[in-house]
Symmetry: D3
Subunit: 266 residues, 6 copies
C-alpha cells in the first residue's frame, strides 16, 4: 500500500509541477468569510429578524466589522485577478449604498407578500422565502459587481444558488418591486435587464441564445430585456440579447421565446 501511495503521490506531484492551472499556490478569497458577510448584511438590512441588531451599538459594530472583513476579501480577490483597485474606496462606496439597498429590498418584500396568497405575513417572506433570499444576495452582489470587484460577486450569487436553486448573475440589472415565486431552477444571465414590478416563477430561464461562440462573446449583450410590469410563468425560457419583452406582457408557462414581444396596453 505504502509503495502505491508513494508512486501516486509522485505522479500527482509531477502533474502539480507541470500543469499551469494548478501549479502555483493562490491566495483565494475565503468562502466562509464571504458567507459570514452575507449573513451579517442580512441582519443589518432586516434588523428586527435575526437577533444581532438590538441598538445603535450593535448596528454600528456589525457595519464596521463587515466593512473590515470585506476590505480584506476584496484585496485578496484583486491580487488574484492581478488588477489594481482601492479596496478601501470600494468598501466605502459599498457601505454608503447600504441604506438605499435596504429600501429597495423592503419594496421587494412588499411585492412578495402582496403577490403571494400563501404568505401569512410580510415577515414570513423575510424569514422563510428563498425567492427573497436570492434577490437579497443578488442586490448585494450587484453593488460589488458595479464597483468592479472580481470573484466575490460570483461567490455570493453561487452561494445563494446552492441554497435556493436560483442563479442570478451579479451583472444583471433588475428594477424595483421584483419577486420570484416558488424560487427554484431560475437562471438570469449576466447582461439581462429587467424593469420594475416584474414577477417570475420557478424554472424560468432568461438566458443567451447560444454560447458556443464562447469567449468571443465576452462583454456582448447576450441576454434579454424585460419591460416593466411583466409576469413570466413557470418553466418559460426567454433567450437572446436582442429579445425584448414589452411592458405589462404575461409570458405563459413553458413558453419558449427567442423573439421580442411588444408591450401590452393595460
Amino acid at each position: 500500500m505504502q509503495d502505491m501511495i508513494r508512486n501516486t503521490v509522485q505522479k500527482l506531484e509531477e502533474n502539480r509541477q507541470s500543469e499551469p492551472m494548478i501549479s502555483s499556490q493562490r491566495i483565494m478569497p475565503d468562502k466562509a468569510v464571504i458567507i459570514s458577510i452575507i449573513d451579517d448584511l442580512q441582519a443589518i438590512i432586516f434588523p428586527g429578524y435575526f437577533g444581532k441588531i438590538t441598538d445603535e451599538y450593535s448596528l454600528g459594530h456589525l457595519v464596521s466589522s463587515v466593512c473590515s472583513r470585506l476590505c480584506c476579501q476584496i484585496d485578496a480577490a484583486a491580487k488574484l485577478r492581478g488588477i489594481d483597485i482601492n479596496a478601501e474606496d470600494i468598501c466605502r462606496a459599498f457601505v454608503e449604498g447600504l441604506p438605499e439597498v435596504q429600501k429597495t429590498l423592503l419594496l421587494d418584500v412588499e411585492a412578495g407578500y402582496v403577490g403571494d396568497p400563501a404568505a401569512a405575513a410580510p415577515e414570513e417572506v423575510i424569514f422563510c422565502y428563498p425567492g427573497l433570499y436570492a434577490i437579497f444576495v443578488y442586490r448585494i452582489a450587484h453593488e460589488l459587481y458595479r464597483l468592479g470587484v472580481p470573484y466575490i460577486p460570483r461567490i455570493m450569487t453561487e452561494y445563494a444558488h446552492s441554497q435556493t436553486g436560483v442563479d442570478i448573475h451579479a451583472g444583471a440589472t433588475i428594477g424595483k418591486y421584483f419577486f420570484i415565486d416558488h424560487a427554484t431552477g431560475v437562471v438570469i444571465g449576466e447582461t439581462t435587464i429587467i424593469g420594475d414590478n416584474v414577477k417570475i416563477y420557478q424554472g424560468v430561464t432568461i438566458g443567451a441564445l447560444s454560447t458556443r461562440g464562447g469567449r468571443k462573446l465576452e462583454g456582448a449583450k447576450r441576454h434579454p430585456t424585460i419591460g416593466n410590469g411583466v409576469t413570466i410563468y413557470a418553466g418559460a425560457t426567454i433567450l437572446g440579447g436582442e429579445t425584448v419583452i414589452g411592458d405589462n406582457v404575461t409570458v405563459g408557462g413553458n413558453a419558449f421565446i427567442t423573439q421580442s414581444i411588444p408591450a401590452k396596453v393595460k
Copy 2:
C-alpha cells in the same frame, strides 16, 4: 472611514426606526432548533439508520426531547403571529400521530424502491434519496400545518427545499405510496390534492394558474387535484384549482396542462 461608517449607521438607524417592517424586535422561531427537530424525527421514524436509537431508552429520550423543543418553537411562532394556541396540546397531538406517520412513510419507501430500477435496496432509498427526504419533511410539516401551527411548517419545507430542490407546500394533501424520482425542481402548491399511488419526476410543477390576483386569493383552491395511480413525467406543468387529473392518467414529459383530464380505465 470612521466618519462614513458613522453617517451610514445613522441612516440605517433612521430606516430602522421609521420602517414598520423592520422597526420592532421580533422573537423568531429558531431555524437551527427546527432543523435539529427534523433530524431527530428522521432518527425516530427510521430507527435502524441514523445511530441514535438503540433501545427503548434512547427512543423515549429522543421523543421526549423533540416534544419539549417543539413546544418552545410553537410558542414562539404563535406569539409572533399574534394567535392564541395551546402549544402543549398541539405537541401532544403531533407526537401521538407519529406512529401513523411512520407507517405512511414506510409505504413511501416501498413505492420508491419498487419503482426505481436504479435503487439497489430499500435502505438506499431511506439513506440516500432526496425524494424520500422531501416527502418525509412534508409529512411531518403537514401534521403541524393541520394542527394550525404558523411559520414552522414553512420553515421545515423550505429547509427540505434548499436541500433537495423540491418545494412541497405543507398545506398540500398527498395520499399514500407517493414517490418523486430524481427529486429536483419540483413545486407542489398549497391547495393541491394528490391521491394514492402517484409518482412524479423532476421538474414537475403542480401550481396555480395565476397569482397576479395576489392576496385576494388567500384560502381559495388555486392548485390542481391529482387522482389515484397517476404518473407525471419530467418537466410537466399542471395548473389551476379546477384542473383535475383523473385516476391512472399518465402525464407526458414537458406537458403543459390547464384543463382536466378524465380518468383512464385501467
Copy 3:
C-alpha cells in the same frame, strides 16, 4: 404529557420491532466522512486553490489519509450490502487512478472556461462554478462505481446534487471536455452514455422513457446515448435507452425528444 409520551414510545417501539425495514440496527457509511473525502480530493486534484497542499508532504499526507478513510467506508458499505469485496484492493485502484482523473478534470475546466463568456479566468471555473463541482464529484464517484463499491457513489452524487441541483448518476459514462452551464435542475440517468466535447445547460434531463416497469428494468439500458460535440440547450428532455443523439447535433431549448437524431455533418 408523560403518559402520552410513554404510550407513543411503546407504539413506536412496537413498529420498530415488527417492521423489517427499520427493525435491525445497521452500520451505515458515515456521510460526514464521505463529504470530508470529497473535500480532500478536491484539494488534491486542484492543489493551488484550497490551501491544503503546499508541498509533497502535505500532498502525500492527504492522499494517505483519504485512502484510509475511504477504506473504512467501503468496508462498511460492503458489509451493509452483504457483499464480499476487498476494500484495500479497491482503494489501491482508486488512488492509482487519481492522476488520470485529475487530467480529465483539467480538460473539463478548459471546456468550462473557453465556453463561457461570463467566466473571467479558468480559476473562476475551478473555484466558483457549480457545474464543474458536479462534474468533479461525478468523476470521482464514477471510479468507485466502476470498482463495484455500493452506496458510496450514490451518497457522493446526492451530495453534489443537494449542493448544485445537478443529479448525475455515478453509473453514467461521460467523455472528455464536458461542461454544464448554469448548472441547476439537470438529471443524467444511470445508463446514459455521453461522448467527448459535449455541453449542456440548466434544466436538461437525459432520462428514462418510463420507469413504471420498475425493478424489472434493473440493469437494462434505459437512458439515451449522446454523441461527440453535441450541445443541449436549457430545459431540453431526451428520453429512452434506444434514443441516440448523433455527433455534432444541437438540441434546442425545451425540446422533448424520444427518438434518435442522426449526426450532423459539420
Copy 4:
C-alpha cells in the same frame, strides 16, 4: 446487559426520587455563559489586547451584551437561592462601576510589572500573568458579591481557581496596587481584609484557624487582616480572624502565623 442496565436505572431513579438534594430539577446558572461574560469583561477592561474592541461601537456593543447576559444569570441565581433581588438594578450598578474597576486593575498591572524583574513589559503582565488574571476575576466577582448576587461570584472565582490555582474568595476585601507572583496554590478566605500595596507569592494561605465549628461560624470574621505595604513570601500560612499583620511587615517563606505582628516602622 440490558437487564442489568434496567435494574440499575431503576435504583438510580429511586435514589433520585427519594434523596432531597438531587430529586428536584433546578435551573442552574449557566457556567459557559458566565465564562463568556468573564472573557468579554477582560476585553472591555483591557481593550488594546484581545481584539474585540476597535471603536466605540464594539465597546458599546460588548458592554450592552454583557449587561443582558449577566441580567439573565443573576435572575437564575436568585431564583435558585430563593431570594428576591432586582437583577436589572444590580446590573446597572455593576456596569456603572466598571470604569472604576478598570482603573484599579491598571494599578495592579503596574504593581505586577514594577515588582517582577522577569516581566519584559507591562503588556506581558496583562496578556500572560495568571496572577493578574486571578486578581481581575476577583475584582469583578467582588463587585457582584457586594451587590448581593448569589452563586455567580463563586462560579467566577472557582473558574479563575481552576485556571490559575489561585483561590480568592469573592468576599475578601483587597486594596489597591496588589500583586501575586508565580500565582499558584494561593488561598485567600472570605473575610480577609488586605490593605494597599501588598505583594504575595505562590503557596500563601490567608485562612481560618479552624472550621471544624462549621456552619455556626457563618458570617463571623474568620480570616486575617493584612496591613498596607506587606510582603508575604512563598508558602507562608497566616490564620485566624483576629490575626493582624501590621503595615510594612515582611512575612518569611513557609512561615506559619496565628498571632498578630505589629506594624514595622519604615
Copy 5:
C-alpha cells in the same frame, strides 16, 4: 527552508524507527471520550443539576450510553497494557455499583456543606466546589481501579488534577463523609488509607517517604494510614507507609510528620 525541513524530518523519522518507546503505533484510550464519560456520570449522580436528566428515559439513555463508551475504552486500555480482561463484565460491575457510589457522594456533599461556613447551600457544594469535584472523580476512578482497569483511572484522576490541583491516586482507599476545603495543591498517594469523617485542607500531602527506591517499591504500602475523624490543616505533610494518624487527631498547618500519632480520646 525546504531542505532544512527535509533533513530534520529524516532525523526525526530515524529516531522514530530506532527508539522503542516511540517506534510503534499505539491505539491509546481516547481522553476526550473519557472526559465525556466523567461529565455524564456527574449528570447521572447529581441529576437535578446539569440539565441532562429529566425523566427515566434520559437517565436510562445516559447510563446505557456511558456503559457502551466505557466498554470501548476499557478494551483499548487492556489491549495497550497487553492484559486479558473482560471489558463487558467490568462495565457491568461498574454500572451496578453506581447507586452505591451516588449515596456515598451525597454524604460527601453533606460533609462539605456542614463543614464550610462559606457555603450558602448544599447545591453550591455540588455545583461549584472543586473539592467535591475531585472526590467525585476519585470515587469513580477508584471503582475502575478496583476492577483492574489499566490507564483509565489515571487519566480520570489526572483530569481532575488539572481542573482542581487535587491529585488523589485512584488506588487510595477513602472512607465516608470526606471533604477537602479550598481544594488545591493536595496530593494523596496510591496506598493511602483514610477513615470516615476526615477533613483536609489545601496544600496537604499524604505521600511516600522516599521513592528513590523507584520501581522496586511497586506494590508496597508506601503511604500513610489516616484514622476516623481526623482533620489535617493547610500545608501539612504526612509521609511513610508505616505512619498512622490515629482517630480524631488534628494535624496542624504546615506540620511535617513522618511518624505515627496515637488516637485522641474525644
Copy 6:
C-alpha cells in the same frame, strides 16, 4: 438602562483614550495558535501516542505546518516588543534542534518511569503524567527563549502552568534525566540552574530571595543552582541566586533553605 450604558461606555472610552497601557490596539500573538503548536510538537516528539503521525508524510506535513505557524507568531511577538529579529532564521534553528530535544525528553520519560513505583509502563508517563507534560513544554519554550523570542516562551509555560500547576520559567536551565513527581504547585525561577538526574516533588519552590528590589534586579542571577543527582522532597523552598545545592544532596520535605549545602559524597 440605555442611558446608563451610554454614560458608562463614554467613561470607558475616555479611559481607553487616556490610559497609555490600553489606548493603542496591539496585534498580540494568538494563544490558540500557540497551543496548537504545542499540541503538534507533542505529536511530533512522541509519535506513537497521539495518532497524528503514521508515516513520513504526516510527520513531514506536521513539521512543516508547525514551522509556518510558529514563524507567523514569532513575527507578531517581535513586532509587539519592537525588536528586529529574523523569524525565519529562528524557526530554522528551532526545527533543526527538535531531534535533540526529542532525545532529551525520552531520557526524562525514563527518569519518570524508573523513579515512580506507581507508573505501570513508560507510556503511562508519556500519556498521563502532568510532570512530563510540564517538562516537555518547558524544553520547547526554553529553545525559543534561548533564540531570543519574546512573549511566546512565556505563553507556552503559562499554558503548561494552568494545565498542571507547575510553573517553570522558560529561562531556567535544566539538565538531563529530570523528573517532577505529583506535579503540582511547583515554581522554578528564570535564572535557576539544575544539573542532571534531579528529581523534585510537588510544592517545591526554587525561587528568588526577594523581588521587592523589583525591576532593578532584571537580568541578575536571582535563583539557586542545583547540582547533579539532587532530590528535593515535597514542599521544600530553596531561595536565592547564590544558594548552591551540591551534587547528590537530598532536601527534606518542607525544608526552607536560603544558604548553600555542600555536595554529598555518595
